[in-house]
């Protein structure tokens, strides 16, 4: 490469001095389209694990069985009252509510918005999250007001010999 075009003002004897040939085809239309196709590929690959965990849940492999845990005695829980407990782990807060003589509901009470503890308001008949006034239906755990959009994970309970046990939890991957 000669130095003749590096002088200022240079002696302009060619018409290509402003073209960087090496970078010419870096992001032309074709290269841009290839990038788009590659991005579509990334999306396709990244949706595989979601499909896998969804299929796993559908086949029932996600239904874990935890050791049954005694929550409280039936005699200690009057109708309309609630009791807090931990299930399945020691750090998974949950709440048990006795709606009628034989109707118990239990949920993991971490709000599905930002995981504040949801508590039971007997007078209103609702479960309320104090942080942003999210409300949940007590029968189903479905959100009825406020920021949360997903239902609370439900815990199955059973009554045996005058005591209430937590059996299993249908939970979210938080």
């Amino acid at each position: 490469m000669s130095d003749k075009n590096n002088k200022i003002p240079f002696n302009e004897d060619n018409y290509t001095h402003n073209i960087e040939r090496n970078n010419e085809r870096k992001l032309d239309r074709r290269g841009f389209m290839k990038t788009l196709v590659g991005a579509a590929g990334v999306f396709a690959v990244s949706s595989l694990p979601w499909g896998a965990v969804a299929a796993k849940e559908l086949m029932g492999l996600g239904e874990k069985e935890y050791p049954h845990k005694k929550i409280t005695d039936v005699s200690k829980l009057p109708i309309g009252n609630a009791v807090d407990f931990k299930f399945p782990g020691d750090h998974d807060d949950a709440i048990l509510i006795r709606l009628s003589e034989n109707n118990y509901v239990a949920y993991q009470n971490a709000c599905t918005h930002l995981r504040c503890p949801v508590f039971w308001v007997k007078e209103q008949g609702e479960m309320v999250c104090p942080c942003h006034h999210g409300k949940f239906d007590v029968e189903t755990g479905a959100p009825t007001a406020g920021p949360p959009r997903r239902p609370l994970p439900e815990i199955q309970v059973k009554v045996e010999n005058g005591a209430i046990y937590a059996v299993r939890v249908k939970r979210y991957e938080a």
Binding site: F32, L36, V37, S47, A54, E57, Y172
Partner: protein, 63 residues
């Protein structure tokens, strides 16, 4: 040389659909509608060969 940008437009549309489907897929997962997760995941995967096809079909079109 005059180029056709139809391919770019198609691919951008495909990418937009990818984003929408992914968003739906993740949300449906948390809603525990696992069948919908599979549907949207499948759509996302189908879009990739479509994108390759769109690229190959439109790469030599001249306006």
């Amino acid at each position: 040389m005059k180029r056709s940008y139809i391919g770019v437009i198609i691919l951008a549309a495909i990418l937009m659909m990818n984003i929408v489907f992914t968003q739906y897929m993740v949300h449906q997962y948390y809603y525990e509608n696992y069948v919908n997760v599979l549907i949207f995941g499948g759509l996302n995967i189908v879009l990739f060969p479509l994108a390759v096809l769109a690229y190959k079909k439109t790469i030599n079109i001249r306006a």
